[in-house]
Each structure stands twice: as structure tokens, then as C-alpha cells.
């Protein structure tokens, strides 16, 4: 029972260069905690005391979790999580 998590280039220093890893947990919060247990330090780059960091976007099956239930978003092993830094368009 593990969920795929796609990691952006700037966070791969924590995952030994892996583009995608797996993590376990029933919610995004638990997934991030599990990630941090396996890849120490990555959790602090994703969240701070107020929640997801400002320039971090997390998508559950392509949908921005800030418009779902944020860190309380329910995650299953059929889902895929993508982490990306916020970048400009236009």
C-alpha cells in the first residue's frame, strides 16, 4: 500500500536523485511524514508551521491539494502525488 510521489529536481538531493519515490499514509500529512522518515529533511522543505510552504505546489492526480483538503486530503495507493515549485506563466 504505497502511493507514488513525483519529486522535482530541486528536491532530489533528498531522494538520492530519484524522480519518483513511494510513501505510505492515509492523508497528505501522513505521506509527507513518511517521506521525511525515509528521506530526512525533505519534509521541512515542503511544509512549515503554517502548512504547505508558499512556493510549493502539491497535486493529487493533477488537482492542486489547496483546493481539496490541503494536508488533510485523503490519499490512496491508486493516487499519484506530484510536487512542483511555483513558477510563472504569461
Amino acid at each position: 500500500m504505497a502511493t507514488e510521489v513525483r519529486v522535482p529536481t530541486i528536491l532530489r538531493e533528498f531522494t538520492g536523485g530519484e524522480k519518483a519515490v513511494t510513501a505510505e499514509g492515509p492523508t497528505l500529512q501522513a505521506i509527507i511524514a513518511n517521506l521525511d522518515a525515509n528521506y530526512p529533511g525533505i519534509g521541512g522543505r515542503l511544509i512549515d508551521s503554517s502548512g504547505l510552504r508558499r512556493f510549493v505546489n502539491v497535486y493529487l492526480n493533477d488537482e492542486d491539494v489547496r483546493f481539496l483538503d490541503g494536508l488533510d486530503t485523503v490519499v490512496t495507493d491508486r493516487d499519484a502525488i506530484t510536487i512542483l515549485p511555483a513558477v510563472a506563466g504569461g
Binding site: 497535486y59 492542486d64 515549485p85 510563472a88 504569461g90
Partner: protein, 289 residues
């Protein structure tokens, strides 16, 4: 269940950005910030620059665009055609780098005026004043509005309009997910969120990768005869996702989505040739929206 395409490729320079560009220049003129003969500076991945270049030409301004080097050759050709000067910014980091370079140039040249599409309220206001009212007039039964998220101007302006006039309308953002090069920031603190962005205006936000965007762009071409740019494919993909949810819930829906521009500016990218996988490989590393 009906999907409605708002054909913004029919604007004078061929993209939705004509609305924001004209309004930003008119507003700056009204405020006395600019007058003919002055030089304008703008960070852009292309379309806003092309729109500004046309208006600048008509109104007598010089335009300098800071544009990432990984944009299609057609964008450079069109900017040059309208008389704009182009300064390129590094591919890695995408538009973030263009913004950074432009801000540096603005500081060095206090006589240049940066209208700054990412933070200029006249950008969103253009859509509050025109795009939103046009949608409501043409489609009074509208239930959802889907547009691309770049400067956020279209979504903020149209979203605020419906927030006041028809608050049940869902406002859906489709954000292009580029190749890794574009996310090649040195650290997360280099991330960028446009000053115009207010998350409370949106109902949901989707990230759409290149394969889905290309597949929908081609479907739009083959099924409807609409020759659109790749970002429109990303928007259509999000719109179809919303449509599928409405169908599953047994709800009626009239979903309006924006066709941002035509496909002409992207022919050289390879987006319309070969298999989808080949096209995806061809646009890898490009700023395709």
C-alpha cells in the same frame, strides 16, 4: 452537458492577451505614467509581448521584451514584425528568469516603464470588464469557466465578475506542467506567484502535462476543426475532467473554456506532427503555453 469554446484567437494579434495589453497601456496613459516616445519593458513568454508590441506600435512607444530563450521561433518573428526589441533570458527557470531579468533592467533604466502583467490590476480588469460580461451575455446558463493560469489575469477578472453577477459559476484553473528544465530553480525560494493571484477566486486548479495537452489540442483540431495552441489543449483537458465529474453526478452543465490562441505560433515546435509521444519529445524543455 455542453462545452463552449470562447475563441480568443480571433483577437487582432491572435491571442487572449490583446485584452490585457490594450487595457494596461490605456490605464497607464490615463494615469499619466506613459506618453508616446517612451520605452516600455515587459517580461513575457510571448503572447503578452506580441499584444503589447502591436499596441505600442499603434500608440508610439518603443517596446523591449524579456523572453525566455526556450520559446518558439514564431514568437520572436512576430515580436520583431511589430518592432519590439527582444532580450533573452535563460531557459532554465522559464518565465521566473524573465521576470528576474526584467526587474533588474527596470532598476538600471528608471526611464523605462514596466507595465508588469503579473501585478498590474488593469490586466485582470480587462477581463472583468469584457471577457466576463461577454460570456454571461452569450451563455446565460454558464455553470463553469475554465481558463489557463499564467499571470492569472483572465481567471481573476472573469472570476470576480461571476462572483458578483452569478456566484454559482465554478472558476477552474488549468496550469501547464512543463518539462523539468522550466522548474530548474536553484531553490524553492526562487518560486514565483503572480501578485494578481488570489486563490479565493478559484474553485479548483489542475496541472496538465504535455501529453494530455497535445492529445486534446489534436482532438480539438480533428473533431471541431479548431486549430488552437497547446495551452488550449491543457485547458480543454481540465474542462473535460470537470465535464466527466458533472456527468457522473447527473448534473447539467454549460462549461465555457478559453481558446487562448491559434496553433500558428507553434507549428515549428513539432506539436502537430508525428505521434503524440514524438510531439511530447519535441516540446520537452519548451515554454509551450
Amino acid at each position: 452537458m455542453r462545452l463552449w469554446a470562447k475563441l480568443e484567437d480571433r483577437n487582432p494579434t491572435g491571442s487572449v492577451k490583446d485584452r490585457a495589453a490594450l487595457n494596461m497601456i490605456r490605464q497607464a496613459e490615463a494615469e499619466g505614467l506613459i506618453k508616446p516616445g517612451m520605452t516600455l519593458l515587459e517580461p513575457t513568454s510571448g503572447n503578452t509581448g506580441i499584444s503589447l508590441a502591436m499596441v505600442a506600435k499603434q500608440h508610439g512607444y518603443k517596446l523591449i521584451c524579456v523572453m525566455p530563450e526556450n520559446t518558439s521561433i514564431e514568437r520572436t518573428q512576430l515580436l520583431t514584425m511589430w518592432g519590439a526589441e527582444i532580450i533573452t533570458s535563460p531557459a532554465a527557470g522559464g518565465s521566473n528568469e524573465a521576470v528576474r531579468v526584467a526587474k533588474g533592467l527596470a532598476a538600471e533604466h528608471p526611464d523605462w516603464v514596466m507595465l508588469y502583467q503579473y501585478g498590474n490590476e488593469a490586466n485582470a480588469q480587462a477581463h472583468y470588464d469584457s471577457t466576463g460580461p461577454e460570456l454571461l451575455e452569450d451563455l446565460p446558463t454558464i455553470t463553469h469557466f475554465v481558463a489557463g493560469l499564467g499571470t492569472t489575469g483572465t481567471l481573476m477578472g472573469v472570476g470576480r465578475f461571476f462572483g458578483e453577477k452569478k456566484p454559482d459559476v465554478q472558476i477552474i484553473a488549468a496550469e501547464p506542467r512543463y518539462g523539468e528544465l522550466v522548474y530548474g530553480l536553484r531553490n524553492l525560494e526562487e518560486g514565483f506567484i503572480p501578485e494578481l493571484y488570489d486563490a479565493s477566486v478559484l474553485s479548483s486548479r489542475f496541472s496538465v502535462g504535455p501529453l494530455d495537452a497535445l492529445r486534446r489540442t489534436r482532438e480539438l483540431l480533428e473533431v471541431e476543426g479548431i486549430f488552437a495552441g497547446i495551452s488550449t489543449g491543457a485547458i480543454l483537458h481540465a474542462a473535460l475532467g470537470v465535464a466527466a465529474k458533472a456527468v457522473a453526478a447527473g448534473e447539467e452543465a454549460d462549461i465555457a473554456f478559453i481558446v487562448c490562441d491559434g496553433g500558428w505560433k507553434y507549428l515549428s515546435t513539432g506539436a502537430y506532427e508525428g505521434t503524440l509521444d514524438e510531439a511530447e519529445a519535441a516540446i520537452e524543455g519548451q515554454l509551450w503555453a
